[in-house]
Each structure stands twice: as C-alpha cells, then as structure tokens.
C-alpha cells in the first residue's frame, strides 16, 4: 500500500456516503477482514445471449424472446460487446486476460431463473487477478486485489403478492418479470483485503467511477445495476488466520454498505467478546432496524454442479483485440487523482470531484494546458462555471465557455488587468455566449485601473460625499473603511484596483 500525504487542507467529503469516517475502524483489539462481491450490469444494446433490448424498466415481460424465456429448443449466443467490456474492465485493474475462457452452467432451481441454471463462468473467467486502487477522504491511497471478474447473466425479477409486505412468506402468489433475465452482469470478486466500512465504500466508489468512465456500465444502484454482498469476519489484531465469515446481502446503497459493515463488525465483536462463536451464514441487512439478520446457514448451501455449457463455444480472446482495447483506454481514475492531488496540488475533494466526472476533468485539463495555472483553473471550473452549470442544467464542457476563454480570463486576473469582481461578471457573460473575455474587456474598457491620479480622483469624490463616515473613521471606527472602499469601487464601475484603493484611502485618512 502506498501513502500519499495530503498536500492541501481537505475539503468536505463528497456526500455519496453519509456518515463515512465517523467510526470506520474496528476497535484496536480486533481487525475486521472484508471481501466484497459486486454484480454490475453491463451497458450493452442487447442482452447477454439474445437480441432483446438491455434496458431498465418497461412493461413486464415485453423485452423477452424464446432464448431469455428458455423456451424449449432455444439456444444462447454470446454478446461480443459484453465480452469486450469485460476485457476493458480487467485491463483497467491490471488483471490478466487469459487467451482462453469459457462459460459454465450454475445449476439450481429458482422461478425467476428461466433455464433453472445460470450461464456463468466457473474456473476460467475472462479476467483473473488485478488490483483496485482507491483513496480515502484524507487522500490516503489504498489497494485491494481482485480475485477475478467473470461474466454471467442476470435473472428475472419476482414480485410476491398477498402477504402485504412484498415478502415471500405468507404470499398467495408470485409474479415474474423476465425483462431483466439475460442482462449481462459482471461479478467482481475482491480478495479479503478491506478492513473497515470506509475502505469498503472507497473500494466500491473506485469500481463505480472506473466502470462509468470506461462506459461499460451506468452503475445505477437505484436501478439495481450494481448490487453487492460483503463477506465480513474479525480476528485479533496481528492474527494471520481468518475468522468465521458472515455474508451480508440486501445492501442497496453505498450508505447501507457502510452501515451494514459497521453493524456486522460490532455484532461479531460483541459475540466473540462475550465468549460466543460467529456462525458461518448468510445475513440480510435491514435498512429500517439498522441490523443484520440470519437468512440461511451454511448447511443449506447449494451444490451448483458447475459444468461447461455445451451450448456455447469457448471464448478465444485474441491478443489484437486486447491491445486495441488497451490502446483506447482513457486515463484511469487513480492516475488522474494522483496527477491532480500530488502534482497540481488540488484538494482531495477537488481532485475526487473532477475524477468522478471524466468530461469535466478533460475540460479542466484543457484549461490547465492553456493557462498553465491549475489552481486558478480549478477555482473557475469547480466554482463559478459549475455553479452556472447547475443553474442552467448544462454541463460546463457543453457551455459556450471554451477552455481557451478560461485561460484568457486567468491571464487577465493574474496580470491584474481585471479584478475578481469583473472576472466573475465576465464568466457570466461568457456563459451567455458573449465570446472571449479579452475582447469584452477591451471593447468596454473594463480593464482595472491602477493609475494613482484616477484612483485619487474617485477617492476624493467619495470622501467628500461621505463626511460622516470619514469622521467616524477618524473617531476610531476603522471598520467603515470597507464601506468607503466599496463606494470607490462602485464609482469606478469596478475597475479600480482594490488593493491600490485601500492603500491610498488609508494614506488620505491619516
């Protein structure tokens, strides 16, 4: 693991995981060991093994065909784009992409699984190994190795009716929507190298931003396109052996992942400290009670009888394809974060905000390229420009404000040609499409004046019109200075150099 000192005062954390950082780590006597399994729906036009649309929602059972309904005689054909997405995901985490991979059947009966087996990958997944690099709110870089990422198909969705609460217990009947059946899913399995809830969320955010940036998934948890389970165990600090794990399911947001892991760690510590033993089982997270509860024990575990799917030919991943995908890879989040945070000295919050919005980051990079001033660029991009973007619902990079305009503006400010007030006004006018800031400044004579004669003229006028304030100042109420300077700025229509105004004003009043 690497550790990068935070170069700047840390801004507030991004609000995606409330409550982070509060009491993330287990008490010092115990170390938590956590592995995370994530299912991420891939973004493709069609489903994994048929031509049906891969889209969220729609009337139940309208995006179905003989293949994804598992009608007798129908056969799967693998989606090439999904396989390429897998390769991209693997490469992004420095995973190995074996030349040979295959699909296997995972056999078990479930009503919303049409074939009563799931096409998945058992011993020869499309990617093996790899490492996820992420950072915490204080800028600490962390790593968690991946075991593998494999490709499989999603199931349909059951709705249980008649029980009142949507649970299967007590329901009179169930309805199944197969629209989601056969949607491509990648399952990302981590090594047990995560040690607290903060790291778990940091790891998940890293997966999310990488997949979004690669365009392989939308990663919308609310639409179920990212679902995750956590294997949690504890052991005494310094111990090598792993403790008995519990698998936590039903976590529907990064926030619930954080809460569930903290709750589970606390539960296990309490059991062990009171002389009990943790039982290996699957536990469900309950958002309302904020606790986990037993879903099924190990004894009920399935024998999935994996075997190679004879309906699908093995996948041969030719090296040219891998290299083409590698070549098209954008700059990845950890590298971009390090560049912004360590090289450009942006705060963790600023760097993170940019890294999670790749087109905005590219816009920012263009501003830096043109202005050679990262700090001013980030101030404009995440400041006034982002505010205007929010107000107008137009992304900064789609606005009429071009990076070279931003660079010009920075030059105008840095050279004291305009002051910050004019700069702010100019940003607003550029946003409305008035063009390059320099030409606006020249056309309207907005350049800041530092001519002592002109400034003295403004000051004299203001002092003459505000005798009471002058008297107050001389009587010791020095805080009227701000008011008087403001009046001068107003009189100069914002063009007077505020530092010079302040300086001359003080001289005149003493």
């Amino acid at each position: 693991m690497s550790n990068i000192e935070s170069a700047h005062a840390v801004g507030g954390p991004q609000p995606s995981a409330g409550g982070r950082g509060a009491e993330g780590a287990a008490p010092s006597k115990w170390e938590a060991v956590i592995g995370i399994e994530c299912h991420v729906e891939l973004k493709t036009n069609s489903k994994m093994f048929c031509g049906c649309a891969n889209e969220f929602g729609g009337e139940p059972n309208t995006k179905v065909c003989p293949v994804c309904l598992a009608l007798p005689g129908a056969l799967p054909v693998a989606n090439r784009v999904a396989i390429e997405h897998m390769i991209a995901a693997g490469l992004a985490f420095d995973a190995q992409i074996p030349e040979f991979s295959k699909f296997d059947r995972k056999n078990y009966f479930y009503p919303d699984m049409p074939k009563d087996y799931q096409i998945s990958q058992f011993d020869m997944p499309l990617t093996q190994g790899g490492v996820v690099r992420y950072w915490l709110e204080d800028g600490t870089m962390k790593e968690c190795r991946l075991t593998r990422i494999h490709l499989e198909e999603d199931t349909g969705k059951s709705t249980h009716s008649g029980s009142g609460d949507g649970r299967i217990a007590g329901s009179s009947h169930s309805l199944i929507d197969f629209n989601r059946a056969g949607v491509p899913l990648m399952e990302c399995v981590s090594e047990p190298e995560i040690h607290n809830a903060d790291e778990a969320v940091g790891y998940l955010e890293a997966l999310k931003r990488t997949f979004v940036q690669l365009g392989v998934s939308d990663v919308k948890m609310e639409e179920g396109s990212l679902r995750c389970d956590a294997n949690v165990s504890i052991r005494p600090v310094g111990a090598k052996e792993l403790g008995t794990k519990a698998e936590i399911k039903n976590m529907n947001s990064f926030r619930s992942v954080h809460r569930a892991i903290e709750s589970e760690i606390a539960r296990q510590i309490e059991i062990v400290e009171s002389g009990g033993r943790v039982v290996q089982e699957t536990r469900g997270w309950d958002e309302v009670t904020g606790t986990t509860h037993t879903m099924r024990s190990k004894e009920q575990a399935h024998d999935y009888r994996y075997f190679p799917d004879p309906d699908l030919v093995p996948v041969e991943v030719d090296r040219a394809t891998v290299e083409r995908i590698r070549k098209d890879m954008p700059e990845l989040p950890p590298a971009r974060f390090a560049r912004y945070h360590c090289e450009f000295k942006l705060s963790v919050a600023q760097a993170t905000q940019l890294v999670e919005n790749a087109p905005l980051a590219e816009y920012f990079d263009a501003c830096v390229n043109a202005s050679k001033n990262a700090q001013q660029s980030v101030n404009f991009v995440l400041g006034d420009l982002s505010r205007l973007a929010n107000e107008s619902d137009t992304p900064v990079y789609e606005s009429p404000v071009k990076p070279q305009h931003v660079a010009e503006l920075i030059t105008l400010v840095e050279s004291n040609t305009i002051n910050s007030k004019i700069a702010k006004e100019l940003v607003g006018r550029m946003w409305k499409g008035e063009g390059a800031p320099k030409s606006i400044v020249e056309k309207e004579g907005l350049a800041q004046t530092s001519d002592p004669g002109a400034i003295d003229g403004f000051i004299d006028g203001v002092l003459a019109a505000n005798e009471k304030s002058v008297a107050d100042y001389k009587g010791g109420k020095t805080n009227v200075m701000g008011f008087l300077v403001g009046q001068v700025m107003k009189a100069s229509r914002g063009k007077a150099n505020p530092a010079l105004v302040q300086e001359r004003m003080k001289e005149k009043l003493t």
Binding site: P72, V77, P114, K115, R305, P310, L312
Partner: protein, 498 residues
C-alpha cells in the same frame, strides 16, 4: 408407382416441372396417413391444415416461376423440433399440450425450400430410448412387422418414411437415434457432422451430441434434405461457420480408389451367424464396387457406452431443468414452489427420463464430478483420437448400425440391454463424426424378413464422401426395394393391434 411411394427427389422434380401439384402430393400423403397411421402410430399430430396451406403456397411459388429444392416433398417432423403453431411434445407428458410459438432453423429451411410438414412424429421421450417405447404418448410400430419396434428415438419419422407417410423424416441423433431406427425400418438414416445442422429449435437432450438429420428411403433424398438444412446459423453458436459443399450433385456410382476401414473390435461373428453373413456380404459388395477394405482399430470404442451414459445424462440433467411448471407445459400445483416443482416433474417425466436426470445429477455433483464427468470427457477425447488414427489409413469406416435387427415390442425390459442397441453408433456420436445407416439386407426371424443396416462413417465434414459412397452401395444393392410393408397395415382396425 403410387404418388406416396415416389422419392423426395422425384416429387420435387415433378412439382417443379408442374407435372403434379404440391397439393396433390400432400393430399395423397395425408390420405395415406389417415388410412394407416391408426395402426402404425408414426405421428403424434397430423398437420392437415398446415400441410395443405403450405402446399398451396408452394404451388403458387412454382406458378410464379420459382424453383424449389424440396417442392412439395412431404416431411415428417420429429416432435422435438419446434414448428410454430404445432404441438411439440418431445413424446412427454410434461409438454403434452405445449404449442411451439416459433420455428427452429432446420425446419424453417425445409419449409423455405418447399417441403410440406405433414405431421409431428413420435419419439422416445426427450429422445431417450432406442425403440420409441419410451414415448409417454403413443406406441409406434415397425411398418415392416407391426409386432416389432421401429427403433428410436426417431422411430416415428423412420416408420413414417418406411410406410410412405412422408418422403423425408426429420430425426435427431444423440447416440444413434437416427441411424438405429433407420436400420430397423429399412430406410436410410443420416447423422451429419456435429454442428453442420443448426440445433436452434431442437429441444435439447444432450447439447454436445444432438444433431439433426434426415431419414429417407434413398440416399439421394438424404442428400437433398441435408443440402437444404445444413449450414451456419447465427442462432446456434455451435453450428459450424464454414463453406458447405453440396452433396447431392456429387453422388457417385462406384467406390473406386476408396479405402474402407473394417473395425477389428467390431467383429460381427459375435452377433450370430445370420447377422454376420449379412455384414460380410455387405463388405464384399463394397469391395466389388472398387473399394479397398482395410482393417482398422478403435481400441477405446468399447468405452463408448459408459462414456456416453455419463456425458449425455449430465447434460440432460441440466437441459431438462427448465421443465419446472413455471412458464409452460404441465404444472401440478403444490403448497409452495418447491412442492410444485416436485409434483410437476414427478408427474411429467417418464421413468427413463428420470433415471437419466438422476444419473446426470449424480455425475455432476460435488465430489463425483472429476471421477465421472471429467473422466468421461477425457475418454471422449481418446475415442476421437482413435478415429483420427483410423482415418489416417482409410477414407470411410463400415460397421453395423445396430446390435440387432428390430426386436419385438416389450422384449428389452431392462435399460442396459436397450442401451446396448447403440453400441456401434455411440462412438461416432462422441467423436462428432458424420455417419449413416443404409439398408444392407435382412435376416429371417420367425418366417419374416427383418431388415439390417450398414453403418458408414466418415471424418468430420466429409458428408460428401459419405453420401457418395452410400449412394454407390445403395445403387448396386437396392436392398430397400425388398422392404415389404406388414400386410396388417392396410387392414381395417381390429382393435387388438393398437
């Protein structure tokens, strides 16, 4: 020769030449079916309306100037192949009332080429069996001797073709299910190379072995139907994407320059003197046509049966999981979904299907997988290697198509003796090779003459060589001309036969 006795090639030629209409051929065939199928039981479903509508469409296309490879040829479709709007049962109670909403690729190609689907033919349940006796819905008899079985699992198609209730019968062969019923009914049964004909729309038994092929009275008809059905299908990723060589135009009349391997381990003496004599004569006939006979060895072929009865059940245990009562087919209600599954599958599957699902589930289960499934796959590779070695010294292999001629219904009461019927066809299936059976004479049993089949087998993709050789042999021997339909077939129903 009556209309129904005409070969498929002859029908297509005559319909294209407008000597006869597809509708006339269809009506004649349907008439024959209605006249005899009560006693034969070849068809689970007769498709009068669909067949007539298809025939009228073909006639319209011919009138419009089109030439169609199978114009007006009456076709029996095995009931494990989806044909939109038809009941597609797989010979099982679990699909007894299931209407296929789509048409499989091979069937569609037949229809597009002008073939007329006259009925859905009976089969062993889910193609598991060698006599058609495992059909849960109907008993099919051998048209040459109604006391005997037609073979299986494609027994309905074989019986239909033999009894002139279709010119072409579509069959599927997993371990011999086209070749053995072909031999039993005195017709040609041809299994192409695995992957040559799309399986899309064929209800799977064992995916890595299943292959669609034709049952016909002549080799020419088999070549005709194969040329129409074969070829890459984007809907089946195991179908082979490589150029197809037409076979029909390449049929030959002699075997000059061909080396034919006779398998040392398949010594026919052990099958009894009468059967031995038939095969020895067949080999001599091949020689007379100019072939050179060479002894070859398939030392691992003896493990074929054991290998097959691990791989095929393993795949079927998974393939048949979808028949769960949730979306289609039979559903027997229970107190919860688990009980519903159990009740549905208990009532819906017959004993042989249950046996194979159990064997396959066991072979794939944790702790046994390596010892059974993985080991079987290794042996499968060895069997394929043996064939490769053999084909280094010969062009084709000749051997029996079945262990015996058609037996009397009910004679094979234990599963193992039934499994042994496919002893000579299973190794080729495991190796994915093209193979066919062609009538090669008969033996006399209780005063009746019962046909035998010669199996010819070629290296993968050598369908052209295979059909060519079979055609030369057929033309020289004309054994199918000796088929005599059981005299009871045309009698009014007596009630004691059906």
């Amino acid at each position: 020769m009556s209309t129904v006795e005409r070969s498929g090639v002859d029908v297509a030629r005559a319909v294209n030449a407008r000597e006869i209409s597809a509708r006339e051929v269809t009506d004649a065939t349907l008439g024959q079916i209605d006249a005899v199928d009560e006693r034969l039981g070849a068809y689970l479903t007769r498709l009068h309306d669909m067949a007539r509508a298809a025939a009228d469409r073909v006639d319209a296309r011919i009138a419009g100037g089109e030439k169609l490879a199978m114009a007006g040829v009456p076709v029996a479709v095995k009931d494990n192949m989806c044909l939109a709007g038809t009941r597609t049962t797989c010979g099982s109670k679990i699909l007894e009332n299931w209407i296929a909403p789509y048409t499989g690729t091979a069937v569609q190609r037949i229809l597009d080429a002008g073939g007329i689907p006259v009925g859905k033919s009976n089969m062993d349940e889910f193609a598991m069996g060698s006599s058609c006796e495992n059909s849960a819905l109907l008993q099919t008899r051998n048209p040459l001797d109604l006391s005997r079985v037609p073979g299986g699992s494609s027994g309905g198609s074989a019986a239909a073709v033999s009894a002139h209730l279709a010119a072409v019968g579509l069959g599927s062969d997993t371990g011999g299910s086209i070749r053995e019923p072909g031999a039993f009914c005195g017709v040609v049964g041809f299994k192409p190379t695995y992957g040559r004909v799309s399986r899309y729309g064929l209800i799977a038994f064992a995916s890595s072995l299943d292959q669609i092929g034709p049952l016909t009275r002549t080799v020419e008809d088999a070549a005709l139907a194969y040329d129409v059905m074969a070829g890459y299908d984007p809907m089946d990723s195991t179908s082979i994407d490589r150029p197809l060589e037409p076979t029909f135009s390449a049929l030959r009349d002699d075997l000059r320059g061909k080396r034919i391997g006779i398998v040392k381990e398949f010594e026919t003496g052990k099958l009894g003197a009468a059967i031995d004599a038939v095969y020895k004569q067949a080999y001599r006939d091949l020689e007379k046509l100019g072939a050179e006979l060479i002894e070859v060895s398939l030392p691992t072929a003896d493990y074929g049966l054991a290998t097959y009865y691990l791989i095929a059940p393993a795949e079927c245990s998974s393939n048949l999981a979808r028949f769960d009562g949730v979306r289609y087919g039979l559903r027997v209600e229970g107190n919860d979904v688990g009980e519903m599954y159990e009740a549905t599958r208990a009532a819906g599957f017959g004993p042989e299907v249950k046996r194979r699902i159990l064997i396959g589930t066991y072979a794939l289960s944790s702790g046994y997988y390596d010892a059974y499934y993985v080991k079987a796959q290794k042996v499968r590779t060895l069997i394929g290697d043996d064939f490769k070695k053999a084909f280094a010294t010969c062009d084709l292999i000749a051997c029996p198509a079945a262990s015996s001629p058609a037996f009397v219904s009910g004679a094979k009461s234990d599963p193992y003796s039934m499994y042994l019927m496919d002893y000579y066809t299973i190794p080729m299936s495991l190796a994915g090779l093209p193979a066919l059976s062609v009538p090669c004479g008969s033996v006399s049993v209780e005063g009746k003459s019962v046909p035998m089949g010669l199996q010819l087998c070629a290296p993968i993709f050598a369908e052209r060589e295979l059909l060519s050789a079979a055609h030369a042999y057929e033309k020289a021997t004309m054994h199918y001309k000796n088929n005599k339909l059981d005299v009871s077939l045309h009698r009014a129903p007596t009630g004691n036969l059906v």
